[in-house]
Symmetry: C2
Subunit: 388 residues, 2 copies
């Protein structure tokens, strides 16, 4: 970069990785398609990915970041100097940060089934020349990870120094450690579970129902039309409630009315500031996320059951070779601490090297994204005995 | 009743109040309309109500049951011998039951704003000859209780032996005790709060958004059309998740697939039994509830703030003259025990006679309806020192 006459937004980010470019890799060209968990074939497959920092000569310092439901490959920095916001985990990834890009080569790719550059339901189906829509095959966490493994091959990396992610990202971390035991040195599943509870499935089902009940959804064939904007917004609203703790909501909004409103309006428009917040985030999501992707990704979460392919969680975890850092957020009620503890006891029963920390935070499930300082300190301490 | 040749469903209910009839009272005929909290006028107002047992000569044994969001006046018994199910709290109300109809005169009325016989948005607007729809004024918990007081006048009762209800019913109990201190001897607010938290408002907002986003809603003017069936079903699904504890869902459904399904279908139809349950209850609700009522009633819950009219919760509770039995359900996360404890400490600070019990139950918010045996024992012990 050269100093520009117009001030760049990059100046706003001290310790940033700076300007980054999203890259793309395509594989599984027919007739060598990926065979998915369901038995369906998918190809060609493109993954959008970004990297930060430098791969060392021994190729031993790569950390794969795996994202949650609404994430994408753009973890840190800005894709253009005018970008309104940096990547989704910019506080964590950069020189001197928790995932220190002066030491590690950090990689993140958008999942298959996603809508930010990787092959998903809004990609063109080569068989028809139109968007896949619901002809896109259902993908699983296993499939997402299998695709990531192809990217890691492409980058010439045998073994990852670490795989880290929260929520659905944590499911991918676990799947990596079990499916590719020799390729993962450190596994860091955050605010996650090895399988969803009934309540988790239920919230996913509500989101899908809201989308599919919207006439704008048109059985998934809404590309080129406004699409199921209302349904997707409602799904996102439900999501946001589950991402925040009751306490966080109370502190953030309480029963306050929106700005400049003194008394009740006695109507049904948003009046409480918590309503305005949900409205804003619901509608904002519509512009940046594909409703069909929401269906596919939540379904992948529902289906995930780490032990299922290996005769149980015990045999599955017995395969792993990684050191584990399992982190829970004390006020997370969507992926509560008890689910992490359950995972930890399975890991211990399997004789694995596991560190467990519950971060004391009122942030709720979102804590895995916002408690970056605490998380960074934990990660540094966890990596210290076994450097690249 | 005489013995019928065809077996009556009443035979299924030992200890039932038997056949009951819904009655109606109309008041507030123009120009004497009710003046609502909002300042709007509403009249005439009809309340649908039922009574069970006999009012004693001293008129001192009347207990008013106040219902929650989806309830109605039909608490116990059957309205016809063919009724598929008895009233919504049949386990609690009847001879020898928790609210013993051989001792008490039990009354329940459908709230104003409701859709089961009382004046609400689906009632005919006398000004237009058409259903009110959104021309129905926003009603508050205060208004609901003011209307109930008119019914109690009509029944010739000065002072109620008790007022009991859970969830939004509990809000009405509290409002009764504060607004009509001389008319309430025992107040039994169950699984409730004196004002919703941000999280509670947020869940209500999601339900309303789901309804209003459904094109079938037509700005509320859907009467005579299929209406916002999908939106209302989604609202009800969200509700059902909040009524059950995570543990109750786990026990009831776990990750089980629906009957006769061995493996994943890799699609978006309901597969997990928890999905089938939500589907069933969401769709079933559409046939028996008016979507506009859902908007009005949830808004009344949002607005409720017991202390607001009296300069704070302290002065409000200082007005009361009732003995209080506050009951919380240990696994209720929608109206958690901490909210009841908060209420109890306000009552104590105001020098009120209050008994607090947390029922140990995994049923979640639904516990106030299903833990009838425990609840009945509590109520009996609470009433014992101060009989009618």
């Amino acid at each position: 970069m050269t100093a520009a006459a117009t001030p760049s937004r990059l100046d706003l980010d001290p310790g940033s990785v700076g300007l980054v470019q999203t890259e793309y890799v395509t594989f599984a060209e027919p007739p060598e398609e990926m065979i998915l968990t369901s038995g369906a074939r998918l190809g060609p497959v493109t993954l959008a990915y970004e990297t930060y920092g430098e791969l060392n000569a021994a190729r031993s310092n790569a950390i794969l970041v795996v994202h949650a439901l609404s994430g994408n490959a753009h973890v840190a920095g800005r894709n253009s100097p005018d970008d309104r916001k940096p990547g989704w985990w910019d506080d964590m990834v950069g020189p001197g940060k928790g995932l220190d890009t002066s030491r590690y080569f950090v990689i993140c790719s958008n999942i298959i089934g996603g809508c930010h550059g990787s092959t998903g339901p809004n990609s063109t189906n080569p068989a028809t020349g139109k968007p896949y829509a619901l002809e896109f095959p259902v993908v699983t966490i296993q499939d997402m990870v299998a695709a990531q493994a192809r990217l890691i091959d492409h980058l010439g990396i045998d073994r990852l120094y670490g795989v880290i992610g929260g929520s659905m990202g944590g499911m991918q971390v676990l799947q990596w450690a079990v499916a590719y035991p020799e390729r993962v040195r450190h596994a860091l599943p955050l605010a996650t579970t090895h399988r969803l509870t009934a309540q988790g499935i239920a919230f996913d089902a509500v989101g899908r129902n809201a989308i599919m009940a919207d006439p704008g959804w048109r059985g998934g064939n809404y590309y080129g039309t406004p699409g199921p904007a209302h349904g997707l917004a409602v799904a996102r609203m439900v999501g946001h409630i589950t991402y925040l703790s009751e306490e966080a909501m109370r502190r953030k909004f309480g029963r306050r009315l929106q700005q400049e409103q003194d008394d009740y309006h006695y109507g049904f428009d948003s009046e409480f500031s918590v309503e305005t917040y949900l409205d804003y985030h619901g509608k904002g999501f519509v512009g940046r996320f594909d409703a069909n992707s929401y269906l596919y990704i939540t379904r992948a979460m529902d289906y995930f059951d780490l032990g299922a392919d290996w005769g149980g969680i015990g045999p599955a975890l017995a395969r792993t070779r990684a050191r584990f850092l399992v982190v829970a957020i004390s006020s997370d009620w969507l992926f509560p601490t008890i689910r992490s503890r359950k995972l930890v006891s399975h890991l211990q029963a399997a004789g694995r090297d596991v560190t467990f920390v519950e971060i004391d935070s009122s942030a709720g499930h979102d804590g895995f994204l916002v408690e970056t300082e605490k998380m960074a300190a934990l990660i540094e301490a966890f990596f210290a005995p076994d450097p690249p």
